[in-house]
Structure formats: structure tokens, C-alpha cells
Assembly symmetry: C2
Homo-oligomer: 344 residues x 2
């Protein structure tokens, strides 16, 4: 009883209960394979000794670690935090635990962290879709475990893929701004662009070039409200003629909007603004931020369900799931309407 927690093994319990270790093992793994008497005897002994199953030993022998490895860019972002929560909630009832790593948006780090997590022999792997080091891609391809790429829908998934199309989302927003009357639209993005942001940007560039016949106007800034303010200051200095602005993030968009109003640049009358992500604040800063809403938690949840389904050998569903997105039109782009786009 004064032993350290975890120092009690099946053998100790078996000795106390007067049964074999296999019987104790069964008491935990397949209780219905034991007679009632035996089961109770074993459980009482385990309880008395404070037995805690050793998942490491179990994992070694059974080759089932009961873990899912997950590498994302960062958890200090509501987006990935919600995604991770969704995964955890989906796998936890089935007895799986999450082993987490972060790459800080760097492909080298992603590879390093993922390889170190693979040493724990996870039964499934989750990572953000997009760019990976070729070595990592090769390693993952050799992996027999179910694998999900999240968030971004990629052209050639390694295995399973859950998320939405940044291309479609970018196109939808630019289209929305154009329909709301904008004729000269700028794009405000983060300094270090990753694949997901690049997709939104590429779509923007194509759209303004083809539809509005003007050269892309791109401002790079920090991913924060303050960054948005600074970005808008620059936009005003260099391109006072724009009448529409698409920001890769709501943080930036809110900052830009606050600064625009401070400068007397009226939103949405002279400048329509749209963001990305549907942060709560966007709803509350007058006149309300038009944005793209992606069901983050749902992305994680679906990923978790796909994994669990595979691991439990359930009949397989689609390997790629588009959770869609929603353009939420608010005051910052004038006409109030909300329409749903692409869902399958």
C-alpha cells in the first residue's frame, strides 16, 4: 500500500488473489471471460494493492499502444486548439489517448517531432495537411497505421483527409466582395505564409486579375489585431484607391477595420472588409465582421471518428471529407446575408 503507484504488477495481484497472472489480465481486458467469483476476487485484490495496468507492457506485447499521434503547427491558436479538442473527444471514449507535438509552422520541425512521436508506435497519426518534408512523406507512406491530414483539403492525400478548400473559401470571399460592389480589392496576409494561406492568396490573385482586371495588391503583416492596424496604415498610404479588403485572419481584419475607422475611412461604405475564421470578437465590433466560418471542432471530431472507425475495423466510409465552410456576411461588407457554400 505504500508502494509507489505503478509498482504493482499483474503478478502481485495474481499472488494475492490466488490465481494466475493470465486470469488477472483477463479480469481487465475481457471480464466476461471469467466466472463471477474469480472476477470479483481479482478486482478486490487489484483494488487493495492499487493496481494500475501498465499500458507500456501491454502495448509492447499486443502491438496496440492505444495512442494517436498528432502534430499541428501550434496550439496557441483557437483554430488548432478546437481541432485538437475535437480529436481528443472523439478518440477518448474508445480508450485512445492523444500524444501531441507542435511544429511551429516549420516543416523541418514537423518532421523531427513526428518521427519522435512515431517512436511511441501510435496506432494512428494526425497532422495538418499541406507541405511536408519529402522524407516525412516517405516515412508516412510506409506507415501501416491510419493517417489523417487535417484542415486543408490536399490534392493527393497520403491516406485520409478532412477539412475544407482554402481555394473555394478564398474564391467565395472575393466573389462576395465583388457582388457587394467592390472593384479594387486588396489582400492582407501574414508575413510567413504556409500552404493554407497561399491557397487563399492564389485564388485571390486569380480572381482580381481575371474578374476585376487589376494587379494583385498584397500587404503582409503580423498575425494580430495590431498587425491589422499597421497593415491598414500601409494600405491607406500606398493604395488609397482600394474599396475592398480580404484578410487571411479575423484578427488582422478587426485591426484593419478599427484603424480604418480611426483614419476616417468608412467601413463598409468606402472600404468593404472580410476576414477569416469567425472569431467571436468579429461579431461584436461594429458594424460586424464579414468572415468565413470553418467548423474547426468538427474537423477534429471527424478525423477522430475516421481513425477510430478504421482501428475498430468498421466498414470504411469516404477517405476524404469536405466539412465545408460558410461565408458569414456582416456589416463590414454591407449587405447582411449568410449563405452556405459547398458541403458534402
Amino acid at each position: 500500500m505504500t508502494d509507489a503507484l505503478g509498482s504493482v504488477s499483474l503478478e502481485d495481484v495474481a499472488r494475492r488473489a490466488g490465481v494466475s497472472i493470465m486470469t488477472v489480465s483477463r479480469a481487465f481486458r475481457r471480464p466476461d471471460a471469467l466466472s463471477e467469483d474469480t472476477l470479483e476476487k481479482v478486482l478486490r485484490a487489484a483494488e487493495a494493492l492499487g493496481y494500475l495496468p501498465n499500458q507500456i507492457a501491454s502495448g509492447l506485447r499486443s502491438k496496440r499502444s492505444q495512442t494517436v499521434a498528432c502534430v499541428i503547427p501550434t496550439i496557441s491558436s483557437p483554430v488548432y486548439a478546437n481541432v485538437v479538442q475535437g480529436i481528443a473527444d472523439a478518440i477518448s471514449p474508445e480508450g485512445y489517448s492523444l500524444v501531441l507535438g507542435t511544429s511551429n509552422y516549420a516543416v523541418d520541425e514537423e518532421r523531427r517531432v513526428m518521427m519522435s512521436l512515431l517512436a511511441y508506435r501510435p496506432e494512428a497519426v494526425v497532422l495538418a495537411g499541406g507541405d511536408h518534408r519529402p522524407e516525412l512523406t516517405r516515412s508516412l507512406a510506409r506507415l501501416k497505421a491510419p493517417l489523417v491530414e487535417l484542415w486543408e483539403l490536399v490534392p493527393k492525400p497520403l491516406d485520409m483527409n478532412v477539412g475544407f478548400s482554402n481555394h473555394a473559401a478564398g474564391a467565395a470571399i472575393v466573389d462576395h466582395l465583388i457582388r457587394m460592389g467592390s472593384r479594387r480589392i486588396a489582400f492582407m496576409t501574414v508575413k510567413v505564409e504556409h500552404a493554407r494561406v497561399r491557397a487563399r492568396r492564389a485564388t485571390y490573385e486569380a480572381a482580381v486579375t481575371k474578374v476585376l482586371n487589376h494587379a494583385p495588391i498584397v500587404i503582409a503583416t503580423d498575425l494580430s489585431i495590431e498587425g491589422g492596424r499597421r497593415g491598414l496604415r500601409r494600405l491607406r498610404d500606398r493604395h488609397p484607391d482600394v474599396d475592398g479588403l480580404f484578410c487571411t485572419s479575423d484578427s488582422i481584419a478587426v485591426g484593419a477595420m478599427l484603424k480604418a475607422m480611426e483614419l476616417g475611412w468608412s467601413v463598409p461604405d468606402e472600404l468593404a472588409i472580410a476576414g477569416f475564421g469567425d472569431l467571436e470578437i468579429g461579431r461584436h465590433v461594429p458594424p460586424g465582421m464579414t468572415t468565413v466560418r470553418v467548423p474547426e471542432y468538427r474537423v477534429g471530431q471527424v478525423a477522430g471518428e475516421m481513425i477510430v472507425g478504421r482501428l475498430l475495423g468498421r466498414p470504411e466510409g469516404a477517405r476524404t471529407v469536405d466539412v465545408g465552410f460558410e461565408v458569414v456576411a456582416r456589416g463590414s461588407s454591407a449587405r447582411a446575408e449568410s449563405k452556405r457554400v459547398r458541403r458534402r
Copy 2:
């Protein structure tokens, strides 16, 4: 080469390199114990076969799982997300990985999740300080592994403790509001209070009772901007005579401030407001939200460092670290002198 990743063992590498298994093991664990020739031979064989060490087997034999278990209320909150990032960044360079669980603010769930993580025999444990199930406390007490309770400084830490005092923070804010001229202060909190919020509230109640001689005025609402708006509406209806408001969270505070202005209740002239957490938006919603800033990332980082220090047998420092907090005074509680109107 077409084997599944992870199906290659030390034995396979040993055979190919023409050495014993132990030599291969040493090539990875203590490379300097091998001659240069042998080391290179082994590494080449490992590379060719795509060998990936099996941390599960290693952990079983060496009793060193190289993991740290962490259970927090939720990661869908910037607070804990930053804390977790801090932990991960501190332990990762030393080769430790994070196994994460969430309790959703429920002590039963906390216990359940923690016990299931303990089955992986983590070398250290991190959890949010405050209430725990007595059974969990007992289990943790028997644990020989280093343990850190974080965020809240608790009266009797189980082992190590990093965070700040919610009592002190609550007192500092009420004191600040009083010095800024408030004489009747309300408290807006979340519906489901956990220990940490209760501490801020208890301090508030003591302060207003003793210093301002009025009964506590407490409004419970949802933890969101929208919740803050609704809370303020109720406050206005029921206690239009208050001239100060302390909210347990910046989200609530921002919502309350926006709503107050909408209702023509001038901030800070007629109502001084203070929040908690220093969300970025608080800085940008005019006239700026007075708040308490806690170094979240630092809390996680210090926790990680304490753990690693212990595990690596470094001389032990303090077991309790108070990272402190900072009252950030902004426009929402600006000084009265010229502007503040004494009401009624």
C-alpha cells in the same frame, strides 16, 4: 524497404551490420561508447533498413517512458493553450513528449483521464491546480514521479506548484477600481465557477464588504463576449447604481463594455470596468480594457523546466514559483479627477 515503418527491430539492424543487438542499442543511446567504425557501420545499416527505435520496448525495460502527462480543463482556451505550449517547448529539447488529456472543468473527468494517462507510466505529471477528487489526490501522492500543479497557487501543493495568486489578483483589481474612484463595485463571473474563479470572487466579496461597506453584487453569465453583453443588461436593470465592475474574464468584460456604451452608460465616467486575462482585443476596443495580465506561457515553461530539472537530477530549486501578475490599467478604468462624474 517495403516493410511497414516500425517493423524493423534492433535485431534486423544487428544482423545486417554484423554486430550484436546490444551494440546497435548503444549506437543510439550512448554512441560514444562505440568505436567509430562500428558506429558508422551500425548507423548505415539502420538507415538502410529505416530503423525507428521502439520507445515502448525501451520504456518497458528501462522504466523511462520519456513522456510527461498533462491534464488541463480545456485547450480551447488561449490560457491553457499557451500554458501547454510552454510545457511542450520546455520538455521537448530534452526528448520528452507530452501526453495530453482534458477534464472540461470536471473533477470526475479529471480523475478518469489522469488515471488513464498514468497507465502510460509518464515520468512526470502536470495538472491544473485547485480542486481534485480525493481519490486522485491519494493516487498522485503515491506517485514517485515529479508533479506540478499549475496556474493557481494552492495552499498545500502535492509537490511542485507554479502560478499566481487569484486572491492577490482579485484584491489588486478591486483596490485599483477603488483608487480610481469606484464606490459600488459589481462582480461578473461565469456560471460554473471553479476554484480559481471562486478565489477571485471571495476576495472581491471581502473587499467590497469591508472597504466599501456594501453587499456583494454578483452576476453570473456565459464565458463569452455575448455573455458579457447579457450580463451587463441584467446589471443595468437590477443595479443601476454601481459605478465599478470587475469581470472574471476579458471576454465578458469586453462584451459588458460594448453593451454599456450601447445603453449610453459611459465607460469609464459612469462605470469603470476591469477584466482578467489581457486578451489582445481588450487593448483595441476603445477606451481600452483594464485587466490583469498573467504570463501564461511562462507558467508552462517554468513547469516544464522544473520537471526536466528533477528528471535530470539537477540540484533542486524552489518547489513553488509565483510568476506574479500585472494590473494593466487602461481607459476603461481611467482616473476620475476631471472626467469622472459623481453620480447621484
